[in-house]
């Protein structure tokens, strides 16, 4: 019983915290926001401790009748999701507080996003994949719609919800086909009984296409990317930040659980589909991002391109490829966290324009944060020695190893194109002179978290072996 509960300890702690946050916030009224914030942070920290201390003791086993899988992959990804949400709350509070947008629902729904991601990461059955995904997505839809002061926000929430429901429907339909043919929802049983000959049959191809559509929607890859720019631009910046971090790691875990673990026998079928998705995403994301003048929209197209790159690691269908994709998902989430942190820092307490011009002259206004932003955007562009370079390096290396040389060449080509729009921001920061630039007013928490975030990218870049060997061990290589 104790072991069973400790297998779900992070989830239980996060759920209880979310309920407490709602109670505290609604009973203390306006003063409750500070209490709710610290309570949420304490709960996430406790869950993180549970992840680090309790989960390794029950690792390697399946709990709740195979519904929950605790493997090294789950332990590592869950820990990173919790860290990301903790930092996302620090950034988010600095943005929401001066605008008087703080509310108990924001904290509770953010915790629910974390909970959904945790459930999804250790899903051992198709049922749990679906429930975790829905829990996470439903909370995200609500968060996007929460601060709807502009018509763009309502539009973003509506698009996200309708397209998300459609993608869930497709995923569910694919799962129902799998269940109809095999009679099991258990991913391990599927992995054990399925043969490559079976998955070549037309009904399996249809099921795979539908399941991949669901995964691709969550990642935001072409042609399921339509929602990404509108949601990134329309949602309040802290919500955009949340959408682009923890759920991406969860979506990677979902791809791993479904494709690499459950339906690994069908690799010959799903690998070519992923190639098309990945190359189209890299092409569209990198090319369209060049034309953007809105930083959030530009980062949205950058997400599309990066998620395409992440899929390259999965489609290699080898342990090193999976580990490379895992490295990529973690590093991307950290970079995106930092990039939106910079956007929040620039917005300050004043009106937010999100124009790229906001970066003009940052190098003179605030040399330190300009340096942090430099690290982040160099890393996003894939310039060595920052973490983003190694993420690309590991994926491309494994891609060539598995014989996809043309795809690897395309990936490098589009990355070079993509470097342009990141470097443009760096040019704005250091070489352009703006007219009346606002001074930066950063709170202690925000500046500390942002500095640590930037330095973490630098540290991973200097010593990529530490994280990469963790990823390799998590995949079981």
């Amino acid at each position: 019983m104790f072991y069973m509960l400790s297998a779900a300890s992070p989830e239980i702690v996060v759920l209880v915290t979310a309920c407490l946050v709602l109670l505290v916030d609604s009973s203390l009224r306006d003063r409750g926001h500070a209490a709710a914030y610290w309570l949420a942070q304490a709960g996430l920290l406790l869950a993180l401790i549970g992840c680090a201390l309790l989960l390794p003791r029950v690792a390697g086993l399946r709990w709740f009748f195979g519904m929950v899988v605790i493997d090294p992959l789950a332990v590592v990804l869950k820990s990173f999701v919790l860290v990301l949400v903790i930092v996302a709350l620090i950034y988010g509070r600095e943005y929401l507080r001066p605008r008087r947008w703080l509310s108990g629902e924001y904290f509770a729904l953010t915790l629910m996003v974390a909970l959904g991601a945790l459930v999804l990461i250790s899903a051992g059955s198709l049922l749990m994949v679906y429930l975790g995904l829905e829990l996470m997505s439903l909370s995200l839809y609500a968060l996007v719609a929460l601060h709807r002061d502009a018509p763009a926000t309502s539009e973003a929430a509506m698009k996200y919800f309708v397209l998300g429901a459609l993608a869930s429907g497709m995923l569910l339909y694919g799962m129902s086909l799998v269940y109809g043919v095999t009679g099991t929802l258990d991913l391990q049983t599927l992995a054990r009984t399925l043969t490559a000959a079976q998955t070549g049959q037309p009904v399996w191809v249809l099921a795979l296409v539908l399941i991949i559509a669901g995964v691709a929607f969550k990642l935001g890859t072409v042609p399921f990317h339509m929602w990404v720019p509108d949601v990134y631009q329309g949602a309040a910046t802290p919500v955009t930040l949340l959408v682009s971090t923890a759920p991406k790691i969860a979506a990677y875990a979902m791809a791993m659980r479904l494709l690499a673990m459950g339906l690994s026998a069908g690799a010959a079928q799903w690998s070519p589909i992923l190639i098309v998705l990945a190359v189209a995403s890299m092409a569209l994301g990198n090319l369209v991002a060049i034309a953007q003048s809105d930083i959030k929209r530009m980062l949205a197209y950058s997400t599309i391109a990066h998620m395409g790159f992440l899929l390259l690691g999965v489609l290699a269908a080898s342990p090193a490829g999976y580990a490379g994709a895992m490295f990529y998902s973690i590093v991307y989430a950290l970079m995106s966290l930092g990039a939106f942190g910079v956007v929040i820092l620039l917005a300050g307490a004043g009106p937010e324009t999100d124009r790229l011009d906001e970066f003009t002259g940052l190098g003179r206004r605030s040399p330190w944060f300009a340096l942090v932003a430099l690290i982040l955007f160099f890393s996003l562009a894939g310039v060595p020695p920052f973490a983003g370079f190694w993420a690309k390096w590991f994926v491309i290396k494994e891609l060539i190893h598995s014989g996809h040389v043309v795809v690897a060449a395309l990936a490098v080509f589009f990355s070079v194109i993509g470097a342009y729009y990141y470097l443009r921001i760096i040019r704005l920061m250091y070489f352009d002179v703006g007219e009346a630039a606002r001074p930066l007013a950063a709170d202690g928490d925000l500046s500390l978290a942002l500095s640590v975030n930037g330095l973490a990218i630098l540290a991973i870049g200097v010593m990529p072996g530490v994280l990469m060997s963790t990823c390799l061990r998590a995949i079981g290589h």
């Binding site: 009748f65 629910m112 109809g180 037309p202 009904v203």
Partner: protein
Amino acid sequence: MELGIFYTLAAVVLFAAVMVITVRNPVHAVLFLVLAFLGSAGLWLLLEAEFLAIALVLVYVGAVMVLFLFVVMMLDINLVPLREGFARYLPAGAAVALALASVMGFLLGPRYFGLAQFPAPRRMPADYSNTTALGRLLYTYYLYPFEVAAVILLVAIIAAIALTQRARRRIKTERPERQIHVRRQDRVRLVSMPAEKPAGEGGA
């Protein structure tokens, strides 16, 4: 006999489902949906799943659909804008539907989902309780998903309240009980200041 009942109920369900999406009046659509639910409940009964059949009637027909009817009747839905662009989107929609239907017709045939793959369930004795069997499964094997599903409903409640309650917080309302208790000190502040001459007046 059983086969006859099955085909009758299946025909009723299919007919009602088609009517739900084709009738013009939304109230009629809701009523046809009720008919579809009743037919499905009958199908559950044929499978000896009494609990599911009763739950479907009580929860969906009894509660959800009545609420739905209220909503549909209260909202003054103007159908004209809903039908705007119907002709414009018809070709694309029809093409997608046709492609999907042909793929499904090709794949969902008897080859994978025929009767040979799905033997009829065993007949249960008279004292068999569907409710017990369901409860046993739900609280053992499916305990964890059951709890997560409950959390999803909690999120739905939080989201619904957060999204609808929000506008009300900004509304400024009168509080008569505080208005009649107001004292002069609350509203008026007497400030004693030294008298000041406007600058530049003395120069003339």
